[in-house]
Point group: C2
Chain length 357, copies 2
C-alpha cells in the first residue's frame, strides 16, 4: 500500500479525452490494491499558450518535478503546423519538458494483442508473435541542436549532435532490457553517411562486449524501415537516435494494429512521463471516438516502471486484453467483422476496461 | 533511330550482376528499334577504392559527364560499415557523383505489378492499385552539410541545410509530375521541430498557388511512415528531403512486393543516373540469385527520361509484366504458391525478359 502523487497533463486535442480515461483506470487500481493516489493537473502545448503565452509554464514544470509520475496526453495544433514562421509552438513545451526532466530514454513497446491480428494492414502470418521494444533517445539529436536561418532567411540549418555519454546511457538501458527478453539488440543508424551515427555505432560496438549474452546487430535506418514491415519478428530490442526513433516507431505502430494502441514511457534522471505515441488528432477531437487504450496502457507502464507495481500493471494489461477478447473495439481498430454494436466511443471503451479491473 | 552513349557503372556487390542484365536489355532494345547504343564502363565505390584508392576516380566522373546516361548498380561494403572510423568509404563515391552531376531529383516510382500482390507482407486489399511517385531531394540536407567531431572526438555533429532555391527546384518537379498523374502532391517534413523543414514547408506553400490544379497536403515524416503502410493508395506524388526520402522509399519498397523490383532515376543539371533502390547486398553477392528486375526497370526509366524513348521504355516494362504473368520469380518475390521450377536466378530471369522484347 503506497501513497503516490500523479500529475495529469492532458495537453491538446484528444489528449484531454484519453487521459481522463487513463486517470479513471489509475483510480480504480488504487482502490482495488489499497494505494492512495493523489492527483493534480498541469498545462502544456497549445492550451498552455492560449492560457499563459508559454507552451510549458514554469508552474507546470514545477508540478512535474514534484510528482511521482506524469500521465501525459499529446501536444500540437494545426494552426502552428500551417504557419512555418510561428515563433511559439506547442511542441516546444513537449521538447522542453523532455529536456528539463532529463527524459533521455523513450521506451515504446510494440506488441500486437492477438485479437487485433486482423486490424493491421500487414498480413497476420507476418505479424503473429511480433514483440519489439524500442528505445528511442529523447533529449539529443537534431531536435535539440542549434537551428536557424542565414543568408537573409534564404537558408535554413539544423545541427544534429550526440556525445559519447548520451549514446552510452541509452545503449546501456537497451542492452539491459534485451537481457530480460530474447537477448537480441538491433542498433539503428545511418553510419554510412552521418557522423553522429558513426559515433553512435562506435559506442555501441565498444560497450557490446560487456553484454556477451546479448546478440547485437547494426542496421541502417533505411533498411530498418523496410525490415520492420517485411519481417517484424526478427526484432527484439531496437535502440536508435531521436529522429530515427520518431519515424520508425510511428511506422511500427502498424505492427500493433493501430497507433491508438501504443503506449510509451519516457524516463531518465527524474520523474517519468507516460503517454500514448499518437498525437493530438484534431480531426477527431471532441467527437468522443478516440481510442483510450494507449492512455490506459500508458497508465500500466507508469504503474510498472515508476511505481514498481507489477501486479497492478499486469491487471490493467489483462483487462485491455479481455475487453478486446469480448469483441469491443474503437473505430480505429474495428474491422469488417466487427458488429456495429461493439464499436465503442472513448468513454464507453474506458468503462468496459474498468469492469475487468 | 538515335545514337547514344551509355556508361555502365556496376559498383559493388550485386551491382555487378544486375547491371550486366540491364545492359543486355538495352542492347536488345537498340537492335529492335534500330538505335545505336555504345557503352563504356567506370568504377565507383569499394571496387574503385581497391583499384585506385578513390571511391570516385576523376576518370569515372569524366566518363559520366561525357555519356548520355548512366546505368548504375550499387555501392557499399560491410568492411566499412563495421568500421565507424574509416576515412575513405564507398558511399563517398556515390554522394560525390550525385553532387558533381547536379542530380538533385531522385524519382522513385512505387507501383505494384498485379502478379506480385501476394509477395508483399501487406494485405492485397490494402495494396491493390497503389501507385506512388516519390521525389527525393538528392544533393542537400544532412548528407552534404558540414560534419565532424569536437571535444576530443567525444561529440559528433552533422549540419542539415537547405536553401529556398534547392527546395523550390525539386518541389516544382514534383508539382509538374503531379499534373500528369492524379494531381495530388504530399510534401513531407518535420516542420513542428526542424528549421530546414519549416523552410521546406514555406517554399512549397508559396509556389502551390501556381499549380491550382494540384491538391497539396503537408504531412509530418513520422505520420507518413505510418500512413504509407496503413493506406498507401492515399498517396500520388510525394516530395521530401534527402534523409526522409531515403527512409520512406525503402519502407515503401514493401508496397511493391520487394526492394528487388524498384528502379530509380536521378536527374538534374546533366547526365541522368538510373539505378535500383536496393543496395550492394553482399550477403547474396556472387550467388547468382539477385533480382535483376530493378536494374531492367532502371533501364526502362533511362530510355524514357534521358532518351525520350517512350515506346522502348513501355516495351521493357511490359516484358517484365509478361514474365511475371508467366509465373517466373526470383527468390525475393516468390511466395508459397510459386513452384520450384519457376524460381529463377539472375541470368535466367534476364533471359526470360529478353524473350518478350
Ligand atoms: C510532437 C512531436 C514533436 C513529437 C516528436 O517528434 O518527438 C511526437 O511526434 C512524438 O513522437 O512524441
Ligand atoms: C548508400 C547510401 C549512401 C544511399 C543513400 O542513403 O542515399 C542509399 O541508401 C540510397 O538510397 O541510394
Amino acid at each position: 500500500m503506497a501513497t503516490k502523487h500523479i500529475l495529469i497533463v492532458p495537453g491538446d486535442g484528444i489528449g484531454q479525452e484519453v487521459t481522463a480515461v487513463g486517470k479513471k483506470v489509475l483510480d480504480k487500481i488504487a482502490a482495488k490494491f489499497g494505494h492512495t493516489f493523489t492527483y493534480d493537473e498541469a498545462l502544456i502545448g497549445h492550451v498552455a499558450i492560449e492560457a499563459t503565452g508559454n507552451p510549458l509554464p514554469d508552474e507546470s514544470l514545477e508540478k512535474m518535478r514534484k510528482s511521482d509520475a506524469v500521465l501525459f496526453g499529446a501536444v500540437g495544433h494545426p494552426k502552428y503546423d500551417n504557419d512555418p514562421s510561428a515563433k511559439v509552438r506547442p511542441e516546444q513545451g513537449l521538447l522542453k519538458m523532455r529536456k528539463e526532466l532529463g527524459l533521455y530514454a523513450n521506451l515504446r513497446p510494440i506488441k500486437l494483442f492477438d485479437e487485433l491480428l486482423g486490424a493491421s494492414s500487414i498480413k497476420p502470418e507476418i505479424l503473429k508473435g511480433a514483440d519489439i521494444l524500442f528505445f528511442r533517445e529523447l533529449t539529443g539529436d537534431i531536435y535539440f541542436g542549434e537551428k536557424g536561418r542565414k543568408n537573409d532567411g534564404d537558408t535554413a540549418y539544423d545541427i544534429a549532435e550526440y556525445s559519447r555519454y548520451e549514446v552510452e546511457r541509452i545503449a546501456r538501458k537497451a542492452f539491459e532490457a534485451a537481457r530480460t527478453r530474447r537477448k537480441k539488440l538491433c542498433s539503428v543508424d545511418k553510419a554510412n553517411v552521418i557522423e553522429t551515427s558513426r559515433l553512435w555505432r562506435e559506442v555501441v560496438q565498444k560497450i557490446a562486449p560487456e553484454y556477451p549474452d546479448v546478440e547485437v546487430e547494426h542496421q541502417f535506418v533505411d533498411a530498418t524501415a523496410m525490415l520492420l514491415i517485411k519481417d517484424p519478428r526478427r526484432f527484439d530490442v531496437v535502440v536508435t537516435a531521436n529522429l530515427f526513433g520518431d519515424i520508425l516507431t510511428d511506422e511500427a505502430s502498424q505492427i500493433a494494429g493501430s497507433m491508438g494502441m501504443l503506449a510509451s514511457a519516457s524516463v531518465g534522471d527524474g520523474t517519468g512521463v507516460y503517454e500514448p505515441i499518437h498525437g493530438s488528432a484534431h480531426d477527431i477531437t471532441g467527437k468522443g471516438v478516440a481510442n483510450p487504450l494507449a492512455s490506459i496502457l500508458s497508465a500500466a507502464l507508469l504503474l510498472d516502471i515508476s511505481f514498481g507495481m507489477k501486479a497492478e500493471s499486469e491487471l490493467v494489461i489483462s483487462a485491455v486484453d479481455q475487453v478486446l477478447k469480448a469483441g469491443f473495439r474503437t473505430r480505429d481498430i474495428a474491422d469488417q467483422q466487427t458488429p456495429a454494436d461493439k464499436i465503442l466511443g472513448t468513454d464507453a471503451m474506458g468503462a468496459e476496461v474498468l469492469k475487468f479491473l
